[in-house]
């Protein structure tokens, strides 16, 4: 079976994350999980779009959204995607240090994103948009909040990995873990791009 390979290589395996059966299983299983998450966010986005007009005399999208803030948040998240890509490239190069460095960059950018989001929510709340103000507000917080919870989970997950493997070097067990965490992070980014378009841009523009 797959793990009957030598542990030290003359050359690094080109894809350490899928060099073992375990790694391949994780990789595939996690992708499938993301397939399911697609439907999960689809349901939330659909709910939001269905209820978008139901503001019940409360504030609506056009009254609230700070498009420029959200634009910056989008940039931050996109950048964090790039840093995690760089981390993966360095993992394949065998550079444990750079892997950690880029990943920490990702975590910091993610935290910045989350901070802005919390500020955003706080501000909307101040403007009179409580969770139960209207169907629109509930659907908005449910969608963006679920995304935010994903970001939070991603940050915690990646930080745990970084602390746990700060000294281990790149191994056949942690390469798949970093790789799945990065996939997750990209996925969060993909979803955000969609939320940015459908919630914020359409909320202001149409």
């Amino acid at each position: 079976m797959a793990e009957q390979q030598a542990s030290t290589y003359e050359q690094l395996p080109p894809n350490p994350e899928t060099a073992t059966l375990d790694g391949r299983n994780k990789y595939l299983g996690f992708w499938f999980f993301l397939g399911g998450e697609t439907v999960l966010f689809g349901s939330l986005i659909g709910t939001y779009l269905g209820l978008r007009a139901g503001t019940a005399d409360g504030p609506g999208p056009a009254d609230l959204f700070h498009l420029d803030l959200v634009f910056i948040m989008t940039m931050i998240l996109l950048t964090s995607s790039l840093t995690s890509v760089m981390a993966m490239i360095n993992m394949k190069r065998g550079s444990h240090k750079k892997l950690l460095g880029w990943m920490w960059g990702t975590v910091i950018l993610g935290a910045a994103f989350l901070g802005f989001e919390i500020y955003e929510f706080y501000d909307y709340y101040q403007q009179g948009l409580g969770f139960g103000t209207s169907a629109f507000s509930s659907a908005f917080y449910a969608l963006v909040g679920t995304h935010g919870a994903h970001v939070l989970f991603g940050i915690l997950w990646i930080s745990t990995l970084l602390i746990r493997y700060r000294k281990s070097g790149i191994t056949l067990t942690n390469a798949p873990k970093f790789n799945t965490a990065v996939l997750y992070w990209h996925f969060i980014d993909v979803v955000w791009v969609f939320i940015f378009t459908v919630v914020y841009l359409l909320g202001i523009g149409g």
Partner: protein
């Protein structure tokens, strides 16, 4: 009893020449696409934020730009175009199809307007 591999041992060695070449090329591609995405996001942003663009154009435009970015993320950042990703493609696209149906249903079939 035969010796078993320890998967927790740190990997040593250098990447092969071809891997190294591939990685360098990849880094370039990634950075270029990153800037492309930034550019597209900005376009979408300005088409809404400035009043110069008519919303009848802006709305389909931003939706298309959003979709393109999603596809780019999937195929560039997440490497969904590589070999051996057949099942992954199947599942992700099935997910997208079903998510699209869901969104459509929740937008149009909720009894407000009868079709």
């Amino acid at each position: 009893m035969s010796e078993h591999v320890d998967p927790t041992a740190p990997l040593q060695g250098e990447p092969s020449k071809s891997t190294e070449r591939k990685l360098r090329k990849e880094a370039r591609v990634q950075i270029v696409s990153y800037f492309l995405m930034i550019f597209m996001t900005s376009l979408a942003f300005f088409s809404i934020a400035s009043d110069a663009v008519d919303s009848s154009f802006a709305i389909p435009f931003i939706v298309i730009v959003g979709a393109v970015q999603v596809v780019m993320q999937l195929y560039v950042f997440m490497h969904m175009g590589e070999k051996g990703t057949g099942w992954i493609n199947t599942m992700i696209w099935s997910g997208i199809l079903i998510a699209a149906l869901t969104v459509g249903a929740l937008m149009f079939l909720i009894g407000i307007v009868k079709y």
